[in-house]
Symmetry: D2
Subunit: 385 residues, 4 copies
């Protein structure tokens, strides 16, 4: 076993998603965290790095310095995890890709479409990999759902209903000490999308992932319900996909009673599927005219195509961290295969891990939704973005 050497930018004390990435990297024992620029504040970066067991010389404050130095070390990192606020995704990813180091980047891709397009150009012309952590697509039953749609279990798709409600921004939490609330509602750090970029993109991405469809056009109504909030906290959208499929998307951060309620339902002329992130070990399958079936992760009805994504038998719940770990493990496998001489494009083609194209597609969705909402819900063609 050769663990990959992992670095991290962002994710210092008090961050949420950095810790998630670190656990995800450990679960399947594919990575050693060896370097980090965990904070742009020197003292905090050092304290955070030491707490994580990093050697002092590999604790950085400046991500550019980190990219440069790690690129030249014989034991330099293979891959960097970017877990900063959105506006830093672009410069950090650029620095590491250009230094020849693969990137695992949190979503959304960037804080502007311009950055996204530029990053796409850079990634396409770089040797190293670029992966995006749309982690919900790596839940084993989300994978199975995709496979069932692909093999025709639902027949011709017709309707997709996806939603992602939360309630943690029901009040103006950004005016408290809540750092998560602060940057996620701040256009200078999040970009022009609030709830839309934070969780709406996850919902959109999951719909595309499971259905295998591309969006054609969207009609949307964005709202900031909380007084003084600068970014949307509720997203209403109607969608038109390839093949005449239609859908709705609702995401909200002002819906009391909802913690992390990502839920998707797909309906075709032969059946329906339903999956909820908060109950991730069950997938409801309704073949037309037959009783609804409860398919369980690693249980009855579970498919071999998703077998490698679970670690325990049915009834031993796996959750968010294991789903996230699936992405890390797939990233590790891609990098290992590349090290063993396979072509990058061949590797990516056979993989379901989200990449730069997934990220760019998400950014176009964000732009289209914002544009439609600004134009009072007029349908916006995604190709015109």
């Amino acid at each position: 076993m050769n663990r990959l050497k992992l670095g991290m930018v962002g994710g210092g004390e008090g961050a949420f998603i950095g810790a998630v990435h670190r656990i995800a990297s450990r679960i399947d024992d594919q990575f050693d965290l060896v370097a980090g620029a965990l904070s742009s504040t020197t003292e905090k970066s050092i304290r955070s790095g030491l707490a994580l067991g990093l050697e002092k010389e590999r604790i950085y404050t400046d991500f550019k310095e980190m990219a440069a130095k790690e690129a030249t070390r014989s034991d330099g990192i293979d891959v960097v995890a970017i877990v900063t606020p959105n506006h830093m995704h672009y410069p950090v990813a650029k620095a590491f890709l250009e230094a020849g180091i693969s990137v695992i980047c949190d979503k959304p891709l960037t804080s502007s479409l311009e950055d996204a397009l530029e990053l796409k150009r850079i990634a396409d012309n770089s040797e190293p990999f670029f992966f995006l952590t749309h982690n919900y697509t790596a839940y084993p039953l989300a994978r199975q759902a995709r496979n069932m749609v692909e093999k025709g279990s639902l027949g011709q798709l017709r309707v997709i209903q996806v939603e992602y409600p939360q309630d943690w921004l029901t009040t103006d939490a950004e005016h408290s000490e809540n750092k998560q609330a602060q940057w996620r509602t701040d256009p200078t750090r999040s970009g022009p999308a609030g709830c839309l970029g934070d969780i709406g993109t996850h919902a959109y991405n999951l719909a595309c992932f499971i259905s295998g469809l591309s969006l054609k056009a969207v009609s949307a109504d964005l709202t900031a319900f909380v007084d003084g909030r600068e970014l949307d906290d509720n997203v209403h959208a109607m969608m038109r996909f390839d093949q005449g499929v239609k859908g709705m998307l609702w995401s909200s951060q002002v819906a009391p009673g909802n913690e992390n309620g990502l839920r998707i339902r797909l309906f075709g002329d032969k059946g329906g599927l339903e999956w909820r992130q908060e109950d991730p070990n069950r997938l409801l399958f309704s073949p037309l005219g037959e009783p609804t079936q409860i398919l369980t992760r690693a249980g009855n009805g579970y498919q071999s195509t998703a077998e490698h994504l679970t670690r325990t038998p049915g009834g031993h719940p796996e959750g968010y961290l294991e789903g996230f770990a699936n992405l890390y493990t797939e990233a590790a496998r891609c990098i290992q295969r590349y090290k063993e001489g396979e072509q990058k494009l061949d590797i990516l083609e056979g993989s379901l891990i989200p990449n730069i194209d997934t990220g760019l597609d998400g950014m176009k969705f964000i732009s289209a939704v914002i544009l439609s909402s600004q134009q009072n819900g007029q349908w916006v063609d995604i190709e015109e973005i």
Copy 2:
């Protein structure tokens, strides 16, 4: 105890909703069914009437004859239930109202907005009552939800998500022997709205009922997914209500795995509510920052304002028929109070039973949705209908 004398138009052999109305009228023992024009086919009308125990002389084929004769009998009916296809609601209601007989009419009000406006004029100028069976509003926990919103349990409302999926029209059932499918997909009998009129109006009505809000504008996307179907079988709509409240409505009859999935969620700045018709004895209440509570019909957290709407203690499930019966009982009470000398307007003001205005509002919603969809989702102002 003085039971009211009930007549029925429609609802002969093989009908669905007629039998429901009859059971609903019996549950609380407020009515005796004594007359009917159960079918426009003489033989079938007689056979159906005898099976229901009607006296032969009060079994009619022609509803106009029935209205005329019953109006002149000393023991004539107090009220008629209209359970025909939509296009007959108007002429039948008109005939009985003009004969001085109260009407309990199935929804939607009529098959065209013109008929609806005319019927509104007639009803407003008639002595007898006009009631509309938007039965879902009479479930005890739907009533409690309305009351909780009214008294501020959710704070200022912000978002309403309502949906009503079914699956029974996933295939072209109208080309089989299914009579329900035949008339409900036939514009000459249903009017211009398919799924929209059949169940979308129920969803819309429930949203207005519980929230206490009026719709201001709607943006919609109607689809007929089944080849050759003349009316919509899937409704996607975004809504804007009074007070800045926004919402989404999805109704579908092509969603495999859904039997009768009416479900509503309302969110305000202090809490959220969720109710599902298929699990009607539970209401989920999520006060902001506190655990979600499971309120049960006639159980803990149940409110005195809805007490008269239940017949058994908590844990003894009451369902669709009991909810429907609540409307019949309230209609009976209205009529009895009128007989005892109260003013019609006073009676109606104090009652939550849907009436002619509810019906007209539903017809305007139908018209607005169709217009918006024809205009590619442009927002349509309900006041301009």
Copy 3:
């Protein structure tokens, strides 16, 4: 249509189960309530009877007088519903049976095994029918469960887990104004069994009904948790049935959070079934090695053998009152067929409606449980009762 003429003993003002029986008798329009001894207090009996629309001369105080007079009227009742406390079941049933009038009696059969054995003798030697309202067996999906077991869907049965928790006697409610609590915890009116007789027998009966098995022996532990309570409020029992099947039964009236939680699970070597009274429109079926299926009343997977027990399509919840109505309708059919000349035994053989034998079996169960508990859980053979 010829409705049967129904009388009622018990069920006056403030009673619970009397009103349930009356609604159940009306739902399918098979009965007219025409006589009653609704209370043993004259004034209350009259007031209750008038409120129900009875003619004054058919409102009785003395059930014996009622039996005698109704038996001689040309328009006398066909059947009497007995909805008194347990200790009155025997004398009332005896009086009506001996007067030639059929009986629909609430459970448990009597308040002592002696009474039960004597009533069995009387019923077996009488012309009229004796029916017992173990109403939970008449839910359509309980019927389907029985049928699935019978036809082998579960293979050879092995384990039955049945439970019936409530919480309404968690405190000493019998010392408040709660009349239900008063008589149900009073040995002179309930007999020697508290929770055991009130709901434990329902659970036991349902287990026997669905499994088609007979109990062989029981080991039990009865408790009265509330200080000063004279009858058990919690029942723990292990059971051994025919064919080596084993089971557990828990019923309790001191289990906070439970309203009316009757629930049964059966497991065989080919599959499992689960049904919950509070969610009665769904039946979970788990064929071994396949995904669990959600069978719905009148929906997918619903069987023709139970079709006559429902009134609405799937997704329109039917509940407790409809299940109860099924028993009344089946009682009506039995009586009608008898009137039409069929033999009583032939009629009963083809019917699943609980009868005198069901009642006696329940009384033996009660006696065996009490005896076992008195003997510190020693297994008691039901045949030795």
Copy 4:
């Protein structure tokens, strides 16, 4: 950060629980796996060890050699995880404890009560720690449940209903290639308890853990339903605890439709609690007379006493592996504190991690259940074991 050095005995290729322990040890980054006797077959042990990244010289075949050598290395292991079949727990634990190395042992403690008593003596007289992985007690909401009971949220406890059904031994899987089935149904490797020792002890342990009570006596009925099976596959038991509390326990491995259905309900005179392992992020709390509340892990109603046991916000499901990781982390903390000079007994007193006493208590439960079943359900006093 100083990770502890971990060894493992058992858990080679094809094992289930070994992999679980390894993931659990990594999640919170407290351990490095550095040595192992993963199989008693040399070749398999080496292959397994190399696959896990162990250095060759620290891959052992003989656990005694491993204990001896690791005890003398300056970089020797701090703790060993024992993940063998039951009959090896005793000799392996003995070897390591006597070599001065702490032990994390899977349950049940041993395969005989004699071994358990002897191991208790050894552990009590050893310096190093002995921990037992009754992992279900380390779910954050199981901890919260215990805390709520302790602080009186349920009032005086009365009834405990615990169950643990599975279905994977419904057929005679031990006669297939299923190695798990083979040893778990083999008395020479599992000891005298089948389902009882495998999962019944978990259920029993959880009941004691959450309630804080000790068992006084048990009455049981063990069955082996599958032809030719030598150990029980179904456990029915009635229990009497301290303070007059009564309970039932059902565990089964022949219950189709159940994957890993551990579920517990506790009822007191002021409220009830329910928790299900397969839905571990929700805890239902029913204060008497108030609506049931849905408490969520790290969400509303979650208590500070369990905060350190979760890694993500509410709505991001954590599951079986995270619960298991909690035990590993608590073991690590105990060992670190001991290294820092605290007294072993002081450390254990403040910890909820299961230890040798928990294990012995479980073995006494097993013995008592078997004895009671052999004596046809006679109540067996746990103190007489």
